[in-house]
Symmetry: C2
Subunit: 215 residues, 2 copies
Amino acid sequence: MTARGRASKNRPYHHGNLRDALIVAAAELIQESGSEDFAMIEAARKANVSSAAPYRHFREKDDLLRAVSELGFFDLARHMLAIRSSCQPGSVACIVAMGKGYVRFVTERAAFFDLMWGDRGVQLMAELDEGDSQFRVTGFNVLVEEVELWCEHEGLGDTDPLDLAMKLWAMAMGLSHLVINHYLERFNPGVDAYQMLESSTHAFLQGVKQGREAN
Amino acid sequence: MTARGRASKNRPYHHGNLRDALIVAAAELIQESGSEDFAMIEAARKANVSSAAPYRHFREKDDLLRAVSELGFFDLARHMLAIRSSCQPGSVACIVAMGKGYVRFVTERAAFFDLMWGDRGVQLMAELDEGDSQFRVTGFNVLVEEVELWCEHEGLGDTDPLDLAMKLWAMAMGLSHLVINHYLERFNPGVDAYQMLESSTHAFLQGVKQGREAN
DNA sequence: AACATTATGTAAGACCGTCTAACATTGCAG
DNA sequence: CTGCAATGTTAGACGGTCTTACATAATGTT
């Protein structure tokens, strides 16, 4: 007979699927209170285990956070693939749709922004992609492919699709940032971020078609 | 006769300018080790005072961090004003220069990115700007004014300069983000961020002049 | 079944950082 | 010069990370 530490009589000594339970608990806690305030011990509490239990599954707090991000990246890749498969390949509309989809994905997961798009995130992406094609997980490769198609359609042979895709990513990322941190509503209240992305993208691609003088 | 706690015989009981010393110490520590790892107590150690002393000047850790960001924002405003005064008003070149200046400022202070451009930052900016013209501190107003001039020069009467400036800000912010977190070097090694910003801006403004169909 | 081995959980506690409370020293106002 | 306000100190409550030693369960071996 031993002290069970926590409530209930029938709860087995082993949790059964603690690793996953902790990831879910962490995601929920982060959603509620942000990633800065997240405490390993709270995830343990939420899963009804002792504060030391998580360390059987994650060497340190950061490992659990990485696991949470990982799910996010897979999620994003699925999201981007779904969008591509629902629009005409190589069209501006498709590129716009992917941009909007990205902004939607990122801003709907504002609490995970630092986690996924900060230092940790890139490093994780690098590990996930390791040893294989350069952009498998993030969905960025999907964008690059679309841009490549668009360049062909428009006869822009001497344009680097990777460079273009990167610039489009920067636009979407920057806009997401401004949305998440409420810069948009503070400086230009009532404006629609998706609308902004759409017109920006149109103007940008227009300008790319146009000009050599612009470099 | 009392225990002095710390070394030295001649050091006076009172520091003299602890508040500023703590801000400086904090900035240095953050520069070295990032803002996440920053500990109030380390700033205190660096200033040779006890761990409780800082609380005479800052109600909580976040207050000290805000003070650090505040300096950053004033710094940025000065930076932007200097750039504007060194190029022709309303020209594309000026807008590009301001964009590059912004990217330089932000990326050179990568360790302060979360601090200045996360939730804390916006809130702080709001307080700094409070009660006066909407964009005094950030330097964003300077950009808006330049864009406004450019629109006049180009005869774009029905174009909203604020909206345009916001889009340019998003580009610069996104690019800075990609640089700081090493996305650029990972996905397109060797590329120059300033070059990217310049060509993006040219293409974008080109497209804006061009098209009504784009919005 | 009996046993060893491994996986996974618990309790206790070292360590560190935040912040508070009570007390000490100093500068300054009257 | 006296007393208050400002600013520093020590002690410690509190909470989170992570480690160590031990407990329990699952699994495989014979």
